[in-house]
Symmetry: C2
């Protein structure tokens, strides 16, 4: 079928009862570290939803473990030995750490085999800023005080940290591609906490470095961030074959600002809690704003929320296909 | 002195030891409801900082109490009887509730007397969306699921709610002006959670209604929101003599988008934790992006954070004056 492709960030996750059933017996890290389980979770939405891609199930913070940090979920991600000093940055590995994430690559191989070509598999990693912000803050943050303090007061230290993080990130994505991932997405979930100038100075060069590497791997890359409407052109300048945008910007405005660049987005995930009529209207509005342009991957503006009705997710995928069938 | 005026959102608050000393003996609501204490808190930063305006100390949720809701701090604001049904909206007062906030107007009169013309006093209220979102969610929210569900699934109910909230908001601000407030600011702290379309459809008409009323009061109004970079033109179309922007947009870009409209902003409040050199450079960057245009009120992109060094706040005010002296 020739129609706009659609998949959903966090399409594998807590809103699905199949996933919750597995989570009763396994921790998030167990699911992510056991290839058969990661494969099962990745495939759950593929069985239920008419989506056009699978997205690898993994935790965004797996790479920080192999960089030597102690990660636990309490229940949110918590790092017991955050990276805040010269010594802590110096202790992080320079290269090669991603080879210790073999269970992810095993999962990729298994998923590709199970998918048997039904839909492509997207690999992913957290973008350097988002991963580094967890490493410095020690968990999620409201104000990003510590990470911004490092960026502002110790730009040299921040640069050393980001150079190590970006290298592991690129190695990790490359190994996913080598194992069979047919596209990669870089998630910069928290980049919207920054001012445009903070982004340009402290983050863009490092995201760009990863996305430049990705050009050599022969698969498309998607660069996604939330809260980027204030610096979307700068964000796009970091690279990525497609640019993911959240719901806080009109898709027509985003497309105007991004020129011919393919775009992914941007339905507000909260709208998946609405009634069918309102939801269909919202999908239609996103498509109307895309204006029939090629190079649109339909997605949400961020991940599916816990409690989202599965049938509404299916409805959106179906609507996108029907409304854009050519 | 002819220079760019500067004040700080939350310039009265927890980062000041004088404030913390008062808070040891009084709750937030006691401070806000006792005119002498609200006056004292409002004046604390005026004694310490070379700012060009005082901002009334009050809690953004005082109006919800006089609308019949039970507000407590636990420690964040919590509403025990949130507004989620037709019956709950019907129970809210239609008009006149703001007259029960006499302690605020007494505080305004007292502050004006104590200020004795030293600097003008800005009154304020939460914007209808931000206040209504607390009323519906029952407290702060991460995803605004309930309030967005009402906007999408029950637009009629949402409209009735917003019409009641906007009326109390306008009455409240008008009474502050009658008591002596020399400007008013409408705070739409959480409006950045919305998509541009959600904002235009469900919020802008109501903010506009309040700001249209304000035009008749003979004092300038400032309309402030965070996370508005995706729909800044729409936000500005709601009104306000000046438009407040957060740090997530470059000030030069904001000014281009807003034409001749005066603008307030937009230093990242986290930068107040930086060293003096970095902080001065950041202030200079904001001023450079303003490009010498008239109609700039220097402020942060959001409120001063707890733990901010007072001397850094003073430094910013001083730098703004020195760097813009004409």
């Amino acid at each position: 079928m020739d129609a706009t492709p659609v998949w959903f960030m966090r399409q594998a996750g807590r809103y699905m009862e199949e996933y919750r059933a597995l989570r009763q017996r396994h921790s998030i890290l167990q699911l992510a570290k056991t290839p058969a389980l990661a494969c099962e979770v990745t495939l759950q939405p593929i069985r239920r939803l008419p989506v056009d891609a699978a997205i690898l199930f993994a935790d965004i913070l797996l790479p920080v473990e192999v960089m030597g940090l102690k990660l636990r979920f309490a229940p949110g991600p918590t790092i017991d030995n955050p990276v805040r000093t010269d010594a802590a940055v110096a202790r992080l590995p320079d290269a090669g750490a991603a080879r210790n994430l073999g269970f992810v690559y095993d999962a990729v191989r298994l998923i590709r085999k199970e998918l048997a070509g039904k839909v492509p598999l997207i690999g992913f990693a957290g973008a350097p800023f988002t991963v580094a912000s967890y490493m410095v803050e020690g968990g999620p943050s409201r104000d990003y005080k510590l990470v911004k303090a490092m960026m502002t007061d110790r730009p040299d230290l921040w640069d050393r940290l980001m150079k190590k993080v970006r290298r592991v990130t690129a190695e990790y994505l490359k190994a996913q591609v080598d194992a069979g991932a047919q596209a990669v997405q870089l998630f910069d979930s928290w980049v919207g906490a920054l001012s445009p100038e903070e982004y340009r100075r402290g983050v863009r060069p490092h995201s760009k470095w990863v996305l430049d590497q990705a050009k050599k791997w022969g698969v498309p890359s998607i660069s996604f961030g939330t809260g980027t409407s204030g610096f979307l052109e700068d964000f796009a300048a970091a690279g990525g074959d497609a640019v993911g945008v959240d719901w806080r910007v009109d898709l027509d405005a985003a497309r105007r600002r991004l020129g011919k660049r393919p775009v992914q987005g941007n339905l507000d995930p909260v709208l998946l809690f609405s009634n069918r009529k309102a939801l269909k209207a919202a999908v239609k509005d996103v498509l109307r704003r895309n204006g029939g342009r090629r190079g649109h991957i339909f997605n949400l503006g961020h991940g599916i929320l816990p409690g989202t009705p599965v049938e509404n997710v299916a409805l959106v995928a179906q609507c996108v296909h029907e409304m854009t069938a050519r």
